[in-house]
């Protein structure tokens, strides 16, 4: 399928050459190089009865034809924080979907084995050395990767941020507005507590670590929702995404008398839900982030009030599309952040 598409696009290139006679030295030389390849491919593909189909396909592929006019594929790397968190796995899926639709992307997903700044910098450098045209990056932290990214940009690599940006202007950022999402979570919790007649008490937060921007923003958004209320938020505890450790932390919060608990990512939320379920008193309300089969089960049986479901697949999909647009020159991007949004999944939405 890919080969047929490539041959057809190469055939379109030949046609467009004949029609317009090339538009610049760069594309002419590239076109010339592609002609020889196209000639052989066109000869092979010419027999397929798709002459008429080629023109329709050409029209549809017009946007990407310019990109593939030199027969070139864009090498795009997705560099996430690790390769185990479901969030990145779903983002990779979104990227693959876009890659399949576009057809002119040589896509690779790479990440360190654990969340680590130095390792992520290495991944960026390896991607640049490996001939990347664009990098989709979920930065561990806002500043750690900046130097490596500057090197990448001066080597001509296009940068798009997904999930977590770094402090360096790039094509754009496709991420959840974590502060807003955290605030939503806080408001949901506050509303539920007040509905249950509780107007003061202790609230506990379980975060991943103090360095990941996304979860830190969620926490600060959450805290802002409680400004001016009579609730005290205890010192945040960190679980490094470990669901079992999060359960211990949440159980300790409950022993300390917390009335509400917030988990800032999947592992923390699973632990929170399990601890509230074990407590069973109904006096503790938990809200969380991300969705997984276990979290949905915990929302369904009432252990969690609700969870903020992100859209990592949308981040990946839009990120790839934006990278290709920037590479083809169609839209260089304005550096702005596109909020890929969260959905509040509570019991009514979970079936």
């Amino acid at each position: 399928m890919k080969k047929v598409l490539a041959s057809l696009l190469a055939g379109v290139m030949v046609l467009s050459l004949a029609a317009c006679g090339g538009s610049g030295s760069g594309s002419t030389t590239a076109a010339a190089a592609g002609t020889t390849a196209a000639a052989t491919k066109a000869a092979a593909a010419a027999t397929t009865a798709a002459a008429a189909a080629a023109t329709t396909k050409a029209a549809a592929a017009a946007t990407t034809a310019a990109a593939a006019s030199s027969g070139q594929k864009y090498k795009i790397f997705l560099i996430s924080m690790d390769q185990m968190d479901q969030h990145w796995v779903n983002m990779d899926k979104g990227c693959q979907k876009a890659v399949q639709e576009l057809g002119n992307v040589d896509y690779k997903w790479t990440a360190p084995d654990v969340k680590d700044d130095a390792k992520q910098i290495e991944c960026i450098n390896n991607a640049v050395a490996g001939g990347a045209n664009a990098i989709l990056l979920a930065a561990n932290g806002p500043d750690a990767d900046v130097a490596a990214l500057k090197d990448a940009q001066s080597a001509g690599v296009t940068i798009v941020y997904v999930d977590s940006p770094a402090n360096l202007p790039a094509v754009g950022t496709f991420a959840t507005d974590n502060k807003a999402a955290g605030k939503t979570a806080g408001e949901q919790l506050l509303k539920a507590l007040q509905a249950a007649g509780t107007n003061e008490g202790k609230i506990g937060i379980i975060n991943t670590n103090a360095a990941t921007t996304s979860t830190v923003d969620r926490e600060s958004g959450f805290r802002s929702a409680f400004d001016g209320s009579k609730f005290t938020i205890l010192e945040t505890q960190y679980c490094e995404g470990d669901a079992a450790k999060a359960k211990d932390i949440a159980t300790n919060y409950i022993s300390q008398g917390c009335v509400g608990i917030f988990g800032t990512n999947e592992g923390s939320t699973v632990g929170t839900g399990n601890a509230i379920k074990e407590d069973g008193s109904g006096k503790v309300i938990g809200v969380g982030f991300d969705k997984s089969d276990t979290i949905l089960g915990l929302v369904k049986d009432g252990s969690l009030l609700c969870t903020m479901a992100q859209n990592p697949d949308v981040m990946g999909y839009d990120g790839i599309k934006a990278a290709v647009d920037a590479l083809t020159g169609k839209n260089k991007g304005d550096g702005k952040t596109v909020d890929t949004g969260v959905t509040v999944l509570d019991k009514s939405k979970v079936q």
Binding site: G241, A244, S255, G267
Partner: protein, 347 residues
């Protein structure tokens, strides 16, 4: 509050090699517990003590495994990854409809396989233990990732089998104590008996004290070393299932860094990283101190930076004490000067 002393007379107890560090650790533990309950009175509530014991159990179990390996003068870095592998394998099987008992048995076999590989690599092929277990560590973590095709597993569900599994390993209580605590206690009793009262246990100490002398004395180095790595793998596999029961699902990064916590628990309790020294009672103290620190610092509302510094200082102090004391004679010498020529107590 219970003070962990043996019933036997003080002198006989002090003559057990390694008991000095255990006593120091026990005193440290008591001081910590007092300090934390002053900082937050709910720390000592019955509810928290039960939770605390349950939180200590995984560290204790992996600590026992690591202690066995450390006493032979080796190290096992694959503990954390075997925990993760065991968690993922058992969860994946159960979500695919495998009966929990069968899943447990299959997971145990896989975990023990890692132990055998470790033992053979270190003892038969003479790889440095650091390198060998580093290799199995990464392989086991990789297996944890592909077990469910690079996804965390779904929930193991609410079915009768899954609920029984979760209750057995984590949620149920027997006689008022959580099952996890009983599991840890049974494991400790069995392996302490093996280490202190059987020939295999003596061989473990022998290898760690002087491997050449041990070999010349007829100790089978390969089978004893494989044995200790099997113990370690067994303990890690059990903890992996406890983690799976806790969360009700398998997570690919479960057990991250657990091997280091196991080393910390062992070392605080007096097990020497140089081999040949230490008793499992010390591992109990070490795991207890570790768990009390984690739990108590949360109750005290300490920011995470303080917690990391405190824990690090305590571990370093323990190792320092161990290294300094190793320069002295192994038997405890009381202060009284006129107790015989070398001050050694005859039993």
């Amino acid at each position: 509050m219970e003070k962990k002393t043996q019933a036997s007379p003080f002198k006989r107890m002090m003559a057990i090699r390694g008991m000095g560090q255990v006593i120091t650790a026990a005193i440290g533990l008591i001081i910590l517990m007092i300090a934390f309950s002053i900082l937050n009175s709910s720390f000592f509530g019955g509810r928290n003590i039960g939770n605390l014991l349950r939180q200590i159990a995984p560290t204790l179990i992996t600590g026992i495994g690591q202690s066995f390996v450390l006493i032979t003068g080796n190290i096992d870095l694959s503990i954390g990854s075997v925990v993760g592998m065991s968690c993922m394998l058992s969860a994946t099987m159960m979500t695919k409809g495998v009966d929990p008992l069968a899943a447990v048995i299959i997971t145990l076999i896989c975990g023990l396989a890692v132990g055998i590989i470790n033992g053979e690599l270190v003892a038969r092929f003479k790889l440095p233990p650091f390198i060998a277990t580093l290799g199995t560590m990464t392989i086991a973590r990789g297996i944890a990732q592909i077990a469910n095709n690079n996804y965390n597993t779904d929930s193991i569900g609410e079915g009768a089998g899954a609920t029984a599994f979760r209750n057995f390993f984590y949620y149920a209580k027997i006689l008022g104590l959580y099952n996890t605590i009983w599991i840890a206690a049974v494991i400790w009793l069995v392996f302490n008996f093996i280490l202190s009262r059987t020939r295999t246990g003596r061989h473990v100490y022998a290898i760690g004290s002087n491997i050449d002398a041990a070999k010349l004395s007829g100790v089978n180095i390969v089978s004893t070393t494989t044995f200790v790595y099997l113990v370690s793998a067994f303990c890690s596999t059990v903890v992996g299932m406890i983690i799976c029961a806790t969360s009700g699902m398998g997570t690919m990064d479960a057990g991250n860094s657990y091997e280091m916590y196991a080393v910390a628990a062992s070392v605080i309790g007096g097990v020497s990283t140089l081999g040949g020294q230490g008793i499992l009672l010390g591992t109990v103290m070490g795991a207890a101190i570790w768990g009390v620190l984690q739990n108590g610092l949360q109750f005290a509302g300490a920011p995470v930076a303080i917690r990391n510094i405190v824990i690090g200082i305590i571990v370093v102090l323990s190792v320092l004490m161990d290294v300094i004391l190793r320069g002295r004679k192994p038997h405890y010498q009381p202060e009284k000067a006129d107790n015989g020529p070398s001050g050694e107590k005859a039993k």
